[in-house]
């Protein structure tokens, strides 16, 4: 039995949905309204990995009773255990590239994209909720910084300076992907793989959030790569699971930015 606790198909939530559709796997989708903090109420029996969440928020998978969390490693797990289209890079160095890409982009895009997306789209929606009720429901959330990331959105902590820094820091990972795509068609090895799905889910929203960074003139290869992935039927099917009709406008706070400054 494969059950996916999911939400609007964007960023972290989009990754396993694409893999499941690529694999044509039968699964049960359990919807979580993250704007209403429903994802904090999933009964996973207090499993450490499901409680802590490497990325602070994201999908949960229950496979025959075991809870799987962390969108990149969930993606790799699905690629390993499900039959169907092979999504794993085949050689040791290609697998290294996939792991290194997911680690690097996970730390950078995983932190920066949600900041821009949440401030633009989530914060205004949260403002329409009852503040005292939101704060009450966040009281028990662990770890502490996961709770604080939501409180920061409610409090409007993100200054224009923080957002400008986030945009500036996005240049490095964007340039790295553009540079890789100048040397190869895909991010790890000679064919489409979990490395592409992992990066696509975070990069596809940047033309909206920071259009000056990702556009046909500045990053032609990245734009062509986004279009190639976008045209895949499994990706269209994953995006079609949206309930709002605008999945790219739905964000959750993501990976914590480095505390070293």
């Amino acid at each position: 039995m494969l059950e996916l606790w999911t939400s609007e198909p964007n960023t972290f939530f989009l990754k396993p949905l694409i893999a499941l559709h690529e694999k044509r796997a039968a699964f049960t989708a359990r919807w979580m309204d993250t704007d209403a903090l429903a994802h904090f109420s999933v009964d996973h029996g207090g499993e450490t990995e499901a409680t802590l969440h490497l990325e602070r928020e994201g999908p949960l998978l229950n496979h025959d009773g075991t809870w799987i969390s962390g969108s990149s490693f969930m993606l790799e797990y699905l690629a390993e255990v499900l039959p169907g289209e092979d999504l794993l890079p085949s050689g040791a160095i290609d697998r290294y590239e996939a792991h290194a890409s997911a680690q690097f982009l996970g730390a950078h895009l995983g932190a920066l994209v949600p900041i821009l997306g949440c401030v633009k789209y989530l914060a205004p929606r949260l403002a329409a909720h009852d503040r005292a009720d939101l704060e009450r429901r966040l009281l028990t959330v662990q770890p502490l910084e996961r709770r604080n990331s939501w409180l920061a959105l409610i409090d409007g902590t993100y200054t224009p300076q923080i957002l400008a820094t986030a945009r500036e820091r996005l240049k490095h990972p964007v340039a790295r992907v553009e540079s890789r795509l100048a040397r190869a068609e895909w991010l790890a090895g000679p064919r489409y793989s979990i490395a592409d799905i992992d990066a696509f889910a975070m990069l596809r929203v940047i033309p909206d959030l920071a259009p000056e960074l990702v556009n046909a003139a500045a990053t032609p290869r990245l734009c062509a790569w986004l279009a190639r992935i976008e045209s895949r039927p499994a990706v269209a099917a994953a995006l079609a699971t949206t309930r709002s009709g605008n999945p790219a406008q739905h964000f959750v706070p993501g990976v914590e930015p480095s505390r070293w400054g």
Binding site: I68, G70, F73, Y77, E80, A92, A100, F104, W260
Partner: protein
Amino acid sequence: MLRLYHWEPNANSGKPMLTLAEKGVPFESHYLDLLKFDQHQPDYLKVNPDGTIPAMVHGSNVLTESTPMMEYVDDQFPGPPLKPADAIERWRMRWWMRFFDSYFAPSLSMIGWAVFVGPSVRHRPRAELEAAIARIPLESRRIAWRKAMFNEFSAEELDESRRRVSFCTGVLEEHLGKHEWIAGRTFSLGDINGFNLGYALPLSQPDRCNDEKTPRIMEWLRRIYERPATKQTWKLGRTAMAERVKFLERAHA
């Protein structure tokens, strides 16, 4: 032959060192002294333009990310498998390695850089330190070195790091109450990663990690310490830092 550029058997450098020893893969060792900034010298920047340690060169492949590097070694070479055969255990191994790398280690290393790395270099002339910072390729590493050299860690961020180290130590102790090893029933790269992060915890954080408060962590560390590959790897250390591993001798218990 495979070339490994590394510092002491500790943290990121120790991960591929111990992995190679467990697999029985010989390698050409290139020791870089982190405290002398060998990693920012032109010769090394030709190998790894980011100037971070470790780096591995295998044929035409250059690998610079320590945790993915461990998986590469396990995939590429014969020897005992260091990834579990079971997919759930492999997922758990990877989850915990990311938890160590992205959450536990940065807090622990902030304390380490404040109390050890910074004071080790701070006495040098300011101009020499500024020149050393100017040679660092990555902005994030320049920020880290500046903080360590000039003691710019605030009391608040060090307190927060200590809070997180306490929290993570508790989470790890609880995990080892449910599983024999990090991934489950199988010794794996997760344990190698965790040992490099935590082998000195009983010395650096004696109030948080000890036989009374964290008996499972202590037993887990001792079991890994007793593996021949661990003994072999820590002998490659050149400073007192590597000597700390001997605290795990059972005679000290």
